[in-house]
C-alpha cells in the first residue's frame, strides 16, 4: 500500500517536474496540470484525518516530491487541507499570520470547543505572509506566533519569492476565522521541510555521482580522481545521516517526543544541506552554476528549506534547552530511549 502510493507519486512527479516545468513555475505560472493530476489521484486529501492514509505516508510522499524539486506548494496544501477538514476543490495553503499576536490581539490559543462556538465571531482583517503560491490560493490557513490557526479567503496579493524562486506571497485577508487544532503545527511544517530536503539531498548526490562518471578531464573521468572520490564519499555520509534523521522524525508522528525528534532532524538535515550543496556544486564545475543545468533548482530549494519553519539554530536550541532541563545525568537516557 505504502509502496504503491510512493510509486504513483513518483510517476506523476517524473512526468510533471521536468526542467522546463521547473523553469516555468519559477516564472510565476502555477503548474495547474500537475496539481490537477495530484487531485485526480486524491493526493491533495491524503493528510486528512480520515483519509485512510497514515500521516507519516503523506510525509514520505513529500520526500519523493523533494527528489523532483516539486514546483507545487504540496506540503502546505496537504497540511492546509488537513486543518480545514472540508477543504473544497481549490488550492488551500498554509502561510504565516503577520504580527506577534493572533488575530484580534489575542494570544491565547482557542480551544476546540471555544473555536467551534466562536465561529463567525472573529471577523478580523489582516495580512498573511510567506504564503506559498498565495496568488493561486482559494483559501489560506495562517499560523500565528502562538501556534493557533486562522483561515481566510485571500483579498489582494503581493507577489514574492524565496531564494529558490518558489512563490512566497503576501496575502490580505478581510475576515479571518479560527480553526480548531491541537496539533504541533510548527513541528509538522518543519517536518515537511525535513522530508522534502531528505529527498532532494538524495537526488543531488545522484547528480554528483552521475556527473563525475561522465565528465572527463586529464584523460579520465573525474570519478577516477581520489580527491573527487573523497568529496563525494563525505557527501554520501551526510546524505545518509540526513535521511536516517528524517525517517526517525516521520516515524515519531503521534509520539510524545515528536517535536524533539523533528528538532533533531531539522538540525541534522540543515547541517547536511550546507555540505552537500557545496560539494556537489564544486564537482559540477561551471556547468552546475548555469541556469541551464537543473542542479540549482534542487540546491536553491535546499538552501531555502533549511531556513523555513526554523533554521538549525532555532531547533538546536529548542532541543538543547530540553536536554538541559533534564540535566547531565539524564543525557544518555534521553539519547538511548529511542532507536
Amino acid at each position: 500500500m505504502r509502496q504503491v502510493l510512493l510509486d504513483t507519486a513518483a510517476r506523476i512527479l517524473q512526468d510533471g517536474c521536468t526542467k522546463a516545468d521547473l523553469d516555468t513555475a519559477e516564472l510565476g505560472e502555477f503548474p495547474g496540470p500537475l496539481w490537477r493530476t495530484f487531485c485526480d489521484q486524491g493526493f491533495h486529501l491524503m493528510a486528512l484525518p480520515d483519509s485512510g492514509v497514515e500521516l507519516g505516508d503523506a510525509f514520505r510522499v513529500l520526500r519523493v516530491a523533494g527528489r523532483f524539486a516539486v514546483p507545487l506548494p504540496l506540503a502546505e496544501a496537504l497540511l492546509a487541507n488537513r486543518w480545514l477538514r472540508g477543504p473544497g476543490d481549490g488550492l488551500n495553503v498554509v502561510g504565516r499570520w503577520l504580527g506577534d499576536d493572533a488575530p484580534g490581539g489575542r494570544s491565547a490559543a482557542p480551544r476546540a470547543t471555544e473555536a467551534a462556538s466562536a465561529g463567525s465571531a472573529q471577523e478580523d482583517a489582516g495580512v498573511f505572509v510567506e504564503v506559498p503560491w498565495g496568488r493561486a490560493a482559494q483559501s489560506v490557513v495562517g499560523v500565528a506566533a502562538d501556534g493557533t490557526l486562522w483561515a481566510a479567503a485571500p483579498s489582494g496579493v503581493q507577489q514574492g519569492a524565496n531564494l529558490a524562486g518558489e512563490p512566497r506571497d503576501q496575502v490580505g485577508a478581510d475576515a479571518v476565522r479560527p480553526l480548531a487544532c491541537r496539533e504541533p503545527v510548527l513541528a509538522l511544517l518543519a517536518l515537511s521541510r525535513v522530508a522534502l530536503s531528505a529527498g532532494a539531498l538524495e537526488r543531488v548526490l545522484e547528480f554528483g555521482v552521475g556527473y563525475v562518471q561522465e565528465r572527463e578531464q586529464f584523460g579520465r573521468p573525474l570519478a577516477k580522481f581520489q580527491a573527487v572520490q573523497q568529496m563525494l564519499a563525505a557527501t554520501a555520509a551526510e546524505v545518509a545521516a540526513a535521511n536516517r534523521a528524517a525517517d526517525a522524525a516521520i516515524d515519531a508522528i503521534g509520539d510524545e517526543r515528536f517535536e524533539l525528534e523533528v528538532a533533531a532532524a531539522k538540525a541534522r538535515v540543515g547541517e547536511a544541506v550546507g555540505v552537500v550543496a557545496e560539494t556537489v556544486h564544486q564537482v559540477h564545475g561551471a556547468m552546475g552554476f548555469t541556469y541551464e543545468h537543473q542542479l540549482h533548482h534542487f540546491t536553491r530549494r535546499l538552501w531555502a528549506w533549511r531556513d523555513e519553519y526554523g533554521n538549525e539554530a532555532y531547533w538546536q536550541a529548542r532541543l538543547g534547552r530540553h536536554i538541559c532541563s533534564l540535566g547531565a545525568e539524564q543525557v544518555w537516557d534521553f539519547l538511548a530511549t529511542r532507536s
Binding site: 538524495e202 548526490l205 545522484e206 555521482v209 563525475v212 562518471q213 570519478a223 577516477k224 581520489q226 573527487v228 572520490q229 573523497q230 563525494l232 564519499a233 563525505a234 554520501a236 555520509a237 551526510e238 546524505v239 545518509a240 545521516a241 540526513a242 535521511n243 536516517r244 534523521a245 525517517d247 526517525a248 516515524d251 525528534e261 528538532a263 533533531a264 532532524a265 538540525a267 541534522r268 547541517e271 538549525e312 539554530a313 531547533w315 538546536q316 536550541a317 529548542r318 532541543l319 538543547g320 534547552r321 536536554i323 538541559c324 532541563s325 540535566g327 547531565a328 545525568e329 543525557v331 544518555w332 534521553f334 539519547l335 538511548a336 532507536s339
Partner: protein
C-alpha cells in the same frame, strides 16, 4: 542509494539495558574515567566481571561459552558501557572481532581452545595488522611465516599494536608466500602467543602520555600449525571480513561522549542561546549516528556484510567525535580571560575535554584511516 533502514531495538533489550545500568551503578568507583574512549581503560578485573554476567561473546554459540543473544542485545550492552566511561579496553578487540573471526574462519579446535576464555573475560587479543611500512596499505605487510616441521617461523615487525604488552594473543596478518602480481595473495592469519619466545614487545608512548600501542618484533617465533586461522593464503579475505564488526559500533561515535555530559552539567542551569544550540546540535548528531549504527547491527543480525554502511558510520562517527569537543569548547562559558577559579564542574569539563582532545587524532586513524574509509564508500557509490 545507501539505505539505513529504521530498526527498533527489540523489547528484550529494555530489561537488559536496566540490568547493565544497575551493574554499572554498583561499580561507580571504576567509572570516573575522564573519557569514554574504548581503548584507554584496560581493567582485567572489570572484564572478568562482565564475563561472569555473560556480556562478552554475547552473540556466540553457547558451545563456546557464548550467549546466543542478538546483535541488538550486544549493541545495548556495549553502548551502555561506553556511555558510562567504563574500562572495556582489555576484552574489547577479542569480543568485537577476534572471536567473530574465529567463529567464521577458525577451526573447531581453535574455537574450543580460545573462545570460552574470551567469554570469561580472561583472554585478551590484539590486532596484528599494521607494520612499519604497511599502514593504510595493508597488503604491503612484510612479516613472514615460513613453514617448518609442525608449524611456522615468524619474522618481522608489527607496529601500533594496541594492548600487546598486556594482552595474551595477537592475530597477525603475515606473508606465507612471497609477493606476486596479486599483492593480496599469499597472506595468512596466525594466532600468536604474545608471551612466546621470539616475541619482543616495546611500548610506544603516545602524545597523550599513555602507553597503549606497541612495536612487536618477531624473531623466529614459532607458531604451531593448529594456530593458522582459516586457509593459508586466504588472509586478505579474512581480514576484510572483520571490518563490518570493527567499524560500525558505538565506539566509533561515543569516544568523546563524556565531554558532552560535562558540557551539559556546566550549562544546564541557565543555558545561553549559544550553549543551548550547542547542546542540541550535538544531540542531533548523536541521535542520527546511533540510529545508523543500530541499522548496521540489524544488517549483521540478518547475516549481511555491511562493509560500506559500516564505513559510512565510521566516517560520520569519527568526524563527529572530533567535532563534539570543538562545539563544546566554543560554547562553554570560558570566553572571559582570568574569570573563574576552574574548580568543580569547570575543572571536570576541562579535564575531560583535554583528555579527549589529546586522544582525538587517533579517532580518524584507527580501524582504517578516514581517507581509506572514504575509498570504501566511493567504491560503494560506484566511483572506483
Amino acid at each position: 542509494m545507501l539505505q539505513f533502514d529504521p530498526v527498533t531495538l527489540p523489547d528484550n533489550t529494555v530489561a537488559l539495558r536496566a540490568e547493565v545500568r544497575r551493574f554499572l551503578g554498583g561499580c561507580a568507583d571504576r567509572l570516573d574515567a575522564p573519557n569514554s574512549d574504548f581503548s584507554t581503560g584496560h581493567d582485567a578485573e572489570f572484564s572478568a566481571a562482565l564475563g561472569r554476567r555473560g556480556w562478552i561473546g554475547m552473540t556466540w554459540p553457547k558451545t563456546y561459552g557464548g550467549g546466543e543473544r542478538s546483535f541488538f542485545e550486544r549493541y545495548v550492552v556495549t553502548e551502555e558501557l561506553l556511555a558510562a566511561g567504563a574500562s572495556v579496553g582489555a576484552h574489547w578487540v577479542a569480543d568485537r572481532q577476534s572471536g567473530p573471526l574465529l567463529l567464521t574462519w577458525g577451526s573447531e579446535d581453535q574455537r574450543n581452545r580460545y573462545l570460552p576464555a574470551i567469554t570469561r573475560g580472561e583472554s585478551f587479543f590484539s590486532i596484528g595488522m599494521s607494520e612499519p611500512n604497511a599502514g593504510s596499505d595493508l597488503a604491503a605487510v612484510r612479516t613472514t611465516a615460513k613453514p617448518v616441521d609442525g608449524g611456522w617461523l615468524v619474522n618481522g615487525t608489527k607496529l601500533w599494536t594496541s594492548g600487546a604488552h598486556r594482552n595474551h594473543y595477537m592475530i597477525a596478518l603475515v606473508r606465507t608466500a612471497p609477493p606476486s602480481g596479486n599483492r593480496r595473495a599469499g597472506l595468512s592469519q596466525l594466532i600468536i602467543d604474545l608471551q612466546a619466545d621470539g616475541v619482543d614487545i616495546r611500548p610506544i608512548k603516545n602524545m597523550a602520555g599513555g602507553e597503549d600501542f606497541n612495536e612487536v618484533v618477531f624473531t623466529d617465533a614459532f607458531v604451531a600449525d593448529a594456530d593458522l586461522v582459516g586457509e593459508p593464503g586466504n588472509g586478505w579475505a579474512q581480514v576484510t571480513s572483520e571490518l563490518g564488526y570493527e567499524r560500525s559500533g558505538p565506539e566509533r561515535f561515543l569516544s568523546a561522549f563524556r565531554v558532552y555530559v560535562e558540557f551539559v552539567r556546566l550549562v544546564q542551569a541557565d543555558p545561553s542561546r549559544v550553549a543551548a544550540a550547542a547542546v542540541g546540535r550535538i544531540a542531533a548528531h548523536l541521535m542520527a549516528l546511533r540510529r545508523m549504527s543500530i541499522s548496521v547491527a540489524g544488517m549483521l543480525e540478518r547475516g549481511k556484510a555491511p562493509n560500506v554502511e559500516a564505513a559510512l558510520v565510521k566516517e560520520l562517527g569519527n568526524n563527529f567525535e572530533k567535532l563534539l569537543p570543538e562545539i563544546a569548547r566554543l560554547a562553554a562559558p570560558f570566553e572571559e580571560p582570568f574569570v573563574g577559579n576552574g574548580a568543580g564542574d569547570r575543572s571536570r569539563f576541562r579535564q575531560t575535554y583535554a583528555d579527549t582532545l589529546l586522544l582525538s587524532p587517533s579517532f580518524t586513524l584507527r580501524g582504517g584511516a578516514r581517507e581509506i574509509l572514504r575509498g570504501v564508500i566511493a567504491r560503494g557509490l560506484g566511483l572506483r
